[in-house]
Symmetry: C2
């Protein structure tokens, strides 16, 4: 594409369409046009993300980088002139990866191949000098019981269920495997396994291991076993090697540590509402990230988009009826402490939250929202679908919103999550290639504009439930 | 994203939705599900594109690579067992870039900065040793007349109108500037300009010049002037430098040549129709590309997706009612000879083409189709919208189709173009980064499945016009 003559025809068609749009627009249509125009021609989200990603980097809870990000986003919120900006203290876990992990498959004494692994977040270290053992491959936790202690004891359990490629929503494919990563070590330990290696949650074949949270739950410390993720290429290699040589040995070494909880913060900014200052609408993302990449998609994108929502409203001199808050939640990845703390304080202070929107699915082209609301509120949101059509925003379906805003949920409240195109998300998720270069400026800005548009409409029309649910 | 507990909830929601879908599906719903499943779990398009891009490379008309691509795609079509596969001879222009271009801005004798340029396709070379002259910046062809010969004569005209960032359809933004590239040299030459430099058609700020077709039309050879594209970063730099130093000199050297036309081919494969073998449905892309990258998005993607359509139909043992052809059109980029030749021969042989679909807008996540059809056919296609909803395909709007299938257009015929997400397309279009690594396997496969689904529905239900329009 594109022979020039046909482009002229195409352009003529588009221009005709654009002109039609300019005539007889409603105030809401004009407002959305203004929002998208500003986001695409004068957006700040991409520059802020550049700083978060390239000047600060990966922001694991409890790290120096996470604290730099707290200071930086607080400064940005102050610069854009919000009515108030503050830090909300929250204690967060501190887990460190230690020196780079090292791993190999040994098929015979002295014959070994290095493979790519990384410790799962929250895992203990291997014994000094590393762990070497035979491997038993399973496709999921449910196979452990049938195998029993005899088959598992003293071995490393290799969880190798891949993400299901034919699911259009890649988050669904993720949901179908993530129990291996989150609970695999805890469950395998019960049968006497000495370690766990989990296939990376990645729909691509490549060499990058993907980290992510795991939990030992209430397993006593002396029963805990180390767990790592292996790249999809090396998972296939290990699986093939096991077929040829079932008694091969797998070695991995990781030096991760858990420290006592440390002080951190949610970062909050607010524009005070003109009519309903005590009814709150929240937009946010999580400021912490994993440590392998710089957390550009997960969730630097959601953070800068959320601040951009308030900047755009201010820049347009829009005076919201409700109090609108932007929140940078701390510690979504390995604790959700920030989300829980924010909801707790809202409850204690009897702040009436009526709507919350999270962006935590990457900075890709927005397709719409998944919405957690009752019938009346859902109907109101779906009545706005045609307003979004010129921007190719078409997805307004019931569904989950975001982990950080989940704890705010109460009857009558509306929650929503931005839904960007998800096809590339798990190529980068929790891996060393979740980096700034993988974010497209326009896609990021379109997401910010789409979020701003929904916040504007929710603020203008209110939720269908809020005025009867103000706390006494 | 994503705290594991919330992922479990999300997954539970999605699984519930998926189960609902599995019950009581119509045959068309089941067929589309099967098409998408096969494309995503057993697709071949990505491997074929790997070969086209990485084993063959950029396929400029008349080049050895273009001929290798003809042979390769012919072999692929034969391997998948089409009823017939043949080459359709077509003479194509042969233009060569020559040695790498070189360019600098000279602000004072001996003080110069190198900038990134590339010759436009079809441009003549600069004089031996290059061309150096003062520069006059304009924002479009329409400014030339007002400036007049006095201001332009002896100078290099710098066309610097950027793509408009606030347009959601990036092809619209392209259509708004491409006249500078296509006709800038011809128009500037009329006022005595000695050369032309055009801002690259790129929505990003970066260092890559983007080539593309230009034409001197009927300008006599001795009036023709060389034309190059400059990267967006260097276009801004040149514009700023001109404000500070209006009499700066711009130098560029390029050694491109035009040779006599050479023999090439369209590659055509066919599954013979069981009921209406003389009514043809065509799916295709263009096999030629520019030479700077490997043409993965433009239009290797469209080529392999088109072959995949026929492979998927064969693999499912679908027996089409109409004859379905896949066509690899040659020379879309700088001549459209293949598209014209195919239409000419169809006319001579009185082949009744009832539907044609082109993919030539990149291998990104498909959003739908732009459709060139009368009211009845448009209504029929729009009645299928709900079938596509599970695959997030939502765009079914009137519009242009594709340059190669355009010449086939006749009354009653339906044309359609695949419309992928367009936000990243012009980051790569005609530049050295239109390469395989910029294509996501799933996005490419989703496009192929979406095209196959439309071909299946068009074949099953026919166009609303075809049975009354069989040539006598």
């Amino acid at each position: 594409m594109k022979n020039s003559l046909s482009v002229f025809l195409l352009a003529a068609f588009f221009c005709a369409t654009a002109e039609l749009h300019a005539q007889g627009q409603t105030p809401d249509e004009l407002m959305l046009r203004k929002i998208y125009d500003m986001a695409l021609t004068n957006g700040k989200a991409y520059d802020w993300l550049d700083h978060l990603s390239n000047e600060i980097g990966g922001r694991l809870s409890g790290s120096l980088e996470a604290e730099k990000a707290v200071q930086y986003t607080k400064e940005v919120m102050q610069e854009i002139g919000l009515d108030s900006v503050w830090l909300q203290p929250v204690m967060v876990p501190k887990w460190t990866r230690g020196v780079p992990e090292y791993s190999y498959i040994e098929t015979a004494p002295g014959i070994s191949s290095v493979v790519n692994v990384c410790a799962l977040g929250g895992s203990i270290s291997t014994p000094d000098g590393g762990l070497k053992a035979e491997v038993i491959e399973v496709k999921g936790i449910e196979e452990l019981e049938a195998l029993g202690r005899e088959a598992i004891e003293g071995k490393i359990v290799f969880f190798n269920r891949p993400m299901q490629a034919n699911l259009i929503h890649t988050f669904e494919a993720y949901g179908g495997c993530v129990d291996q990563r989150y609970s695999g070590a805890k469950e395998a330990a019960k049968y006497g396994a000495v370690g766990v290696v989990v296939r990376s949650m990645n729909l691509r074949q490549d060499d990058l291991p993907h980290t992510g949270a795991m939990s030992y739950d209430d397993l006593p410390p002396n029963k805990r076993i180390p767990a790592c993720a292996i790249s999809t290429n090396d998972a296939n290699y290990l699986s093939t090697a096991l077929k040829l040589k079932p008694d091969l040995l797998f070695y991995f070494n990781q030096t991760c540590r858990v420290f006592p909880d440390v002080q951190s913060y949610n970062v909050i900014g607010e524009i005070r509402g003109s009519e309903f200052p005590n009814n709150y609408m929240v937009v946010g993302g999580h400021l912490d990230s994993w440590d392998l990449g710089d957390g550009s998609h997960d969730d630097g994108a959601g953070c800068v988009q959320s601040i951009e929502v308030l900047r755009l409203l201010k820049k347009m001199n829009y005076k919201p009826r409700h109090s609108i808050r932007v929140v940078m939640f701390m510690n979504e990845e390995n604790g959700l402490r920030g989300g829980r703390k924010y909801a707790e304080e809202a409850q204690i202070k009897k702040e009436n939250h009526v709507f919350a929107l999270e962006s935590d699915s990457g900075g890709f082209t927005p397709r719409g929202f998944s919405i957690d609301a009752d019938t009346d509120n859902m109907a109101q949101i779906q009545s706005w679908v045609s307003l979004f059509k010129p921007y190719l925003i078409h997805y307004f379906e019931p569904g989950g919103s975001g982990a950080d805003i989940g704890p705010l949920k109460k009857e009558g409240m509306v929650l929503a999550g931005l839904r960007p195109d998800s096809q590339r998300y798990f190529d980068h998720h929790h891996a060393s290639n979740d980096t700034f270069d993988a974010v497209n400026k326009r896609e990021l800005e379109l997401g910010a504009a789409t979020m701003t548009s929904l916040i504007y409409l929710m603020d203008k029309y209110g939720t269908k439930t809020e005025y009867t649910s103000i706390p006494k």
